[in-house]
Symmetry: C4
Subunit: 384 residues, 4 copies
């Protein structure tokens, strides 16, 4: 076992000479390597242009008090290995006084965001959500997202889906109302959003011309909170003038491929993060960039990295469930920022609980939804 | 902590002078306030015209032996906060001797209403229920209500629904028989009720003209027990002559919005309660006014406030499940009053058990049905 | 408490004088009455013409070593109350030496009937069952029966149902193959039975002319084991020449109403039992007369009364599940007698387990199927 | 009890004289017979032409260190009875040094084959599987296989099925995308495989001409890993030139009947094994011959006998689930050999866990899929 504590963080250039040789020697050895605070040679933020051979490749990293930004990028995983945070009792005020746009959202920061229910509240108080989803062969995405809307607490749900999917939706989720499309294959019109508290668009939607027109018409008249996912993002990427029609603080939930279509390719995680922040600020929207440590960027330039989730969630429909959770929270009156941050956290925590009960290989997206209740319960218990 | 025991109940006018100043001072303070018996200044019944600033705003109220009527109205929740009943050993005969039309239904009063099954009883002895429900996009309501009919104990169930919904119903609830509408979209005829023990009408029904005609024809010839919900109530509200066609002790289950369409707007809970009692008496029906402390009024002028339920039940389809439970009890031969009172209690208790297992945010209507068995079991255990 | 041990069994005429007065006095009292062996005055078999006022009305009866035949008839329930058997150590050989056609099937007699599986057996060894069921609006009956076929151990299942029901069947029971009817509404042809090990006909079938013709054609060419239920029984009752086409030891599973159509009305349980035995002998079939203490009669004149089951099973679809269980056992090669006796026992035991987990009111037919595994396990444990 | 240790293994001809008489005497007795290492007189491999009367018929066999090849053949089950392996501490190197193509796959050999998930892996890293399955009345096979694909860990799944089955698939497995056939009844075209990581073909497919043409066209252009089952095997058997179009190391999963159509009839297990090995070598494919001790043969001539599974898995759809598991593993990048060996092991282990929870009679194929997570967990625990 090698304990690596050669350098702390804050490097602006790479080590040379003896320290560089030491790093290379450690990397060439077969030892188990544990880095303390930061793998030696790894910058705290931007690693662009760094020679990877002179950055420690740890098996584990024990970050002191909080992780570095660079830990959240896939390309640095070979340096950090698995990492965890070790609190050492730094003065809380000192931590909070540190002025950083980067936040690591944990159970303590999410718990106060959750809305509590009171005795006389009724169905209408928890909001009527509209979900626009599905196309021929992709009705399942609407079912997955819809169930997550209701299991995250919305009061009512209307699913606007192609007509052919209504019976499957009724059988699988009788709690949902269905607004039947005139088209049997794709969404070609979107109901007037004014009667709804929030709208989710995208899961399984497809990118046909008719759907694009429906999306355009919808965005022109819509004034409600929205969460936009999957093919709805792809339609916007291919028709960029739609970006100007988004309501304030629209929540977009791209995976890295969809994000690249939206904001351009990035050569590494740090560059992608900068593009994400710039996009959120320029277009006044919340971007939920999905992946390990999902990052949520806000119009004000803040970024929340998520602490929950596991690679068992890299499974078909997992993103549809996340869209449903965020829509369910928006319908209940959460701010877009809070809906995104706490929705991502809940989704990941439910996935972690599902992985404990099942196992990562066997998890499917429905398992995440089925454990949302346990995730809520765990967060509520934190507040006791 | 302030313990508020300034005034008991029975006020007919508001306090003035020093006591009023004390109440205002307590309300302006940040203290945790616990009222004993009644928040000072809160009348026991009608609060109309009272200045709210001279009524204590308690965090908790400990009602002595029984709650006051005013505790059941939403507008007084800011005064009572969460409340519970503290028994202090008042002589039972004294309580029962009190002549009041207002009853608070708990497990002890509901348990004796339940029908017990005996060895040689068969399917026919538990009644054949007819459920008339659903329209295009709202077949789920029929599935939810139907499952609750069978899970509350009816012997047989026929669901009359638009044709398009039959396959979803079969897949989701194979125990139900389906009577297929000639129309694929809406209910436009209702089967002859004479072969059934009880009929439930309304969940997801829609308010089209064809459905109105079907309802009219049905009410003209029907002699069976009925429970009427949702759009069937709305159709009656818009066609008030139908009120005269209701069978004796028809059970109507409006939420406050539907009740306002039926009996007029109310400016507060006390006024609404008086309208509810008057309506029950005038039209010889049982009104189940849904909400926190759901009130069941009878043609004789009695009102039962329900003690079970929680705001997690403010979710899509929860009312459909209640309609199903009441229909299931009517089919088993319960009187309309008992079906309504014990149905509301069972539904709320099942919801409380579901909230314990899941959590309020994640509950969906199916969870209530899935816990009816646990609610029954809890009540049966009370009798041991 | 009155302990009634005035008379033992074996009465051929009713008591008179003092004993009769004593019986009347006990019946008029409010005492809890416990009869030992037999309620005084109750004949062991035929009660026809007896004055019921001079037969004890017990709350409980403790039968010594075995119950009397009369205990199994509904009209005597007011005399026996709840009863149970008290073994007192009579010599086993003496019991077995008693020559009676009446048997009370319990776990000890059923356990040896069950087939055990061995290492190299494959799907074909457990039989391919054909289920002919369903009509418009009654596809659920096919789903319920089909699931029970597979859960009771058949190797393969083909469901011949009207075309409209295929998707519901696939969604609810993907393990079943569907043979689609040319008619969308009713069964109008039945596949060649020669490729199947056993055939079940009846659940939800309807009684249309086309179905009658299909049944006729089927019975003409069929040589396989069959179980016949519900509307297939009704069709046979209305077309009695079909009785001659039944294969040897066909199993028929009527409820009392269907049995009356088949074999005529009976004024009491004893008369119905005699008709059941006569019918089995005359038509060379096994009759499963459903109810409390379901009786299975054989062509040889034996009758097996069942010891499992509860009134929670008096629910829609419970009979469809029983048909499925018996079909599943026939497919596995059980003799018709054993399939009927052990199928009825398994079905009742699964229902008892379901009632323990749920409660009688909330049980639905699917719960019985879902607990077949627990019933099998309980019987297997008996053999350890 | 007779302990049989007359002969060890390695016999090349049958015993005569006194030993033969002893064997016959033991076989004629009623004693419980336990053979040590090998039932006396049973050859280790080929039993062809042996007189079965001079081979011990044991109730149990305790194999020393490893089982003989002959134990895996159904015709020898009457000789071995139930058998298990008793490790006696033979030097591991000696065992591994033994040069045999026959391997007995257990948890220790399978555990290292499993792929572990790492933090930054996403949906695409676990592969997009294409399942081609179903025909009119056999859509359920596609649902069963599809669920197993996702529950064994594939990242994405597209099911190409006849159009009529889409709604059942969506309701039962919303995580799957559906590629709708132009034909409503059968598969008549197969999507371009180039966008997928692996392809599974066969469950419920039928053998119509249109499907044959689709299969031919597919095999001509396909370069991806495939698993071929059921009717796809039957189509290849009837059109043998298709064998030349199979990609390298295609996995075929016949049951004995399908294997006979593919490679000819065999008169016993040993002959069938030799045909299996020869077929794998000649056609460069992996053959999974399903049954007790499922054997997996590879193009290199190795054979893996499986140690998990039970006769409760001899139930409709069990093979569809296996196809799904192997497809799921291929999509995740497992080699065909590892996908077949570990897929068969996982499937059997999940079945064993399901049989423990349910019981062999009541198990249905879905129960296997529902316990894949427990099988994975058990294997992972082995590595701790």
């Amino acid at each position: 076992v090698v304990i690596d504590a050669i350098f702390g963080s804050g490097l602006t250039r790479q080590p040379e000479g003896l320290p560089a040789d030491a790093i290379r020697a450690i990397n060439d050895s077969d030892s188990l390597v544990i880095s303390v605070d930061v793998p030696s040679g790894l910058p705290g933020e931007d690693c662009c242009g760094f020679d990877r051979s002179v950055i420690i490749r740890a098996d584990y990293t024990l970050a002191i008090e909080f992780p570095r930004l660079s830990f959240f990028f896939a390309e640095n995983h070979i340096h950090t290995g698995r990492w965890s945070v070790v609190p050492i009792g730094l003065h809380q005020a000192a931590i909070e006084g540190t002025d950083t746009p980067y936040l690591f959202s944990g159970i303590n920061s999410v718990a106060p965001m959750l809305r509590r229910r009171t005795t006389f509240e009724h169905k209408g108080d928890f909001g009527h959500a509209l979900l626009v989803a599905g196309s021929q062969g992709k009705i399942g995405a609407a079912i997955l997202a819809g169930k997550a809307v209701l299991r995250s607490g919305a009061g009512l749900l209307t699913c606007h889906i192609p007509g052919m999917g209504a019976q499957a939706m009724h059988a699988a989720l009788p709690e949902a109302m269905v607004s039947c499309e005139r088209s049997d294959r794709v969404v070609s019109e979107i109901p007037d959003p004014s009667g709804f508290k929030a709208v989710g668009i995208g899961p399984g939607l497809g990118t046909e011309q008719a759907t694009l027109l429906a999306l355009e018409n919808f965005l022109k008249k819509n004034r409600q909170r929205v969460v936009i996912d999957a093919d709805a993002i792809n339609l916007i990427s291919a028709n960029r003038k739609l970006l100007d029609k988004l309501p304030d603080s629209a929540v977009l939930t791209p995976h890295p491929g969809e994000f690249a279509r939206l904001a351009g390719e990035s050569s590494n995680g740090f560059e992608r993060l900068r593009k994400q922040v710039a996009f959120s600020q320029k277009h006044n929207c919340v971007i939920v960039l999905k992946g390990a440590y999902t990052s949520v960027s806000t119009p004000e330039g803040k970024v929340f990295f998520n602490s929950t989730g596991n690679p068992g969630m890299a499974t078909a429909g997992s993103g549809d469930v996340l869209t449903g959770v965020i829509l369910g929270l928006l319908a209940q009156g959460y701010s877009p920022e809070n809906a995104a941050v706490s929705g991502v956290f809940l989704h990941g925590l439910a996935g972690d609980i599902a992985a404990d009960k099942n196992c990562m290989e066997s998890m499917i997206a429905s398992d995440i939804t089925d454990n949302l209740h346990a995730a809520y319960t765990k967060i509520h218990e934190q507040l006791l």
